[in-house]
């Protein structure tokens, strides 16, 4: 028997070396430099794509500028951001509080599935933004319209995930618990809930990212204040530098809240084999 070297195989060991951390910054920095260069050389219209330096100055003013009645934006970055965060927090919390128990019950009990399942199935395909006219008509341009839209939107992925979570509980685990003395009515709490945790967390993450999307939609179209409202106002004044600041803010907030959720739940999930982390 002759060992034939397979091309590519010998390189697998070298591939395991991790790229040094600083190399991960290369692509964003290159993009940033190209972007700045494009503006300096007037390759792009600065009105529409302002340079990174302009964007930074805009953020500086939006964040630290003195607040005045004359300016729509000076110094309002933090209050705008906090307002959006507040809306997401309340809407997402409502969605989680209603979605987790309902989803688990639908997945667990035939009776609840027959009662509530069809309603969820009918409502779910309607794009959540299609509820916007109703949200505005019922709640007016008030806080509750945004909260309604966010909680209603985040509710569905959470419910759907929790249904699958409760449905996949292995039969032998239920039998094991019954054999060890768990009464039937406590199975949901003792077995189904912990077994469904990875699914619940996956649903919460989907719901959270949807919440960020919906807060912007609601603020652009229905309610006053917040990052989405500021973005739309900036667009109307053709201040695209502010729009870009808002976009970056959202990227950071989305990442931070998702990381936070993963971190908070990781202690509960370390037993799970299922890949919860999705690396890009």
């Amino acid at each position: 028997m002759v060992e034939i070297p397979v091309p590519g195989l010998e390189s697998t060991s070298t591939r395991r070396f991790r790229t040094p951390r600083w190399q991960r910054w290369i692509s964003p920095i290159v993009i940033l430099l190209l972007w700045q260069l494009a503006d300096t050389l007037h390759v792009v219209n600065e009105q529409i794509v302002p340079a990174p330096s302009t964007v930074f100055l805009a953020w500086h003013e939006w964040f630290l500028g003195s607040r005045s009645a004359l300016s729509w934006s000076s110094g309002t970055w933090l209050p705008d951001t906090l307002l959006s965060v507040r809306r997401v927090a309340i809407g997402f919390a409502i969605a989680a509080c209603l979605g987790i128990p309902l989803g688990l019950m639908i997945g667990w009990s035939r009776k609840v599935a027959d009662l509530a399942g069809p309603l969820v199935q009918i409502l779910r395909p309607i794009p959540i933004t299609a509820w916007l006219p109703f949200a505005a008509a019922i709640f007016g341009i008030r806080e509750s319209a945004a909260i309604f839209l966010i909680s209603f939107g985040a509710f569905f992925p959470i419910v759907v995930s929790c249904v699958s979570g409760a449905e996949q509980v292995p039969l032998t685990l239920i039998r094991a618990a019954r054999m060890l003395g768990t009464p039937r009515h406590k199975l949901l709490w003792r077995v189904a809930l912990p077994s469904a945790l990875p699914f619940i967390v996956a649903g919460l993450r989907l719901g959270l990212s949807l919440s960020w999307m919906l807060v912007i939609v609601a603020e652009m179209l229905a309610v006053k204040g917040g990052l989405g409202y500021a973005m739309w106002s900036a667009y109307e004044y053709l201040r695209m530098d502010y729009v870009i600041v808002a976009m970056f803010t959202l990227a950071v907030l989305g990442t931070l809240t998702d990381r936070g959720l993963v971190l908070l739940t990781s202690r509960l999930l370390h037993w799970s084999h299922r890949p919860i982390e999705q690396h890009p």
Partner: protein, 252 residues
Amino acid sequence: MSSGAIFCERLSKRYFDRSARRKFAAVADLSLSVDPREFVAVLGPSGCGKTTFLNLIAGFERPSAGRVLVDGKTIAGPGPDRGVVFQDYALFPWLDVLHNVAFGLKEAGHPSPKEHARGVLQSVGLGGIDRRYPHELSGGMRQRVALARVLAIDPPILLMDEPFAAVDLQTRAVLQRELQELWLRTRKTIVFVTHGVDEAILLADRIVVLTSAPARIKAVLTVDLDRPRDPSAPAFSRYRTKIATLLEEDAD
């Protein structure tokens, strides 16, 4: 104090087979009496209905006809008087070893479940793995923990469904020896489902050979060999030959 006598009275179990659109009998008219402290092996080809038979005794499934009596009382469902050891261990993956073993004690309202569970783990030689999770353990270790979990609630009856089928040969031999020692020490009633002929002869007082679906009793053999048993002994081989003949008659 219950003693662990099992009586199966004309047990039948029929399922509706959706693909064939007809009823399918898994167990038919099966009567069996197991004495307290007896070790009975249930032997049959794969898919013959022996697991269904065990599930009926465990109370996981309701018989279509007949009934199961434990110490003279008809069972109404699963319960901590019949500890079950599953082929796939069925440990709760979100609980560490200690909490898996303490699970049944908590359900029973034991005043100090964790301390007691720790004691049980020590007694079966599993000290020091309290904080490990099932996925961190080998198959053999998982099955030891699963056994400790039922021993913690001290049931008079152990029902074991091919418990060593998923572990490697060496580990299986060790687990078989440990089970034998355990049974000699605690004298629980054991119903042990297996498709391993040697395993049945090695462990059991009596071997119930089942026919293929539906499961009926084909033969009941009393194994009259001193323990520990030697699979290479001529007497052991005679049992092996006899059972092999019985099983062959039934194979298609």
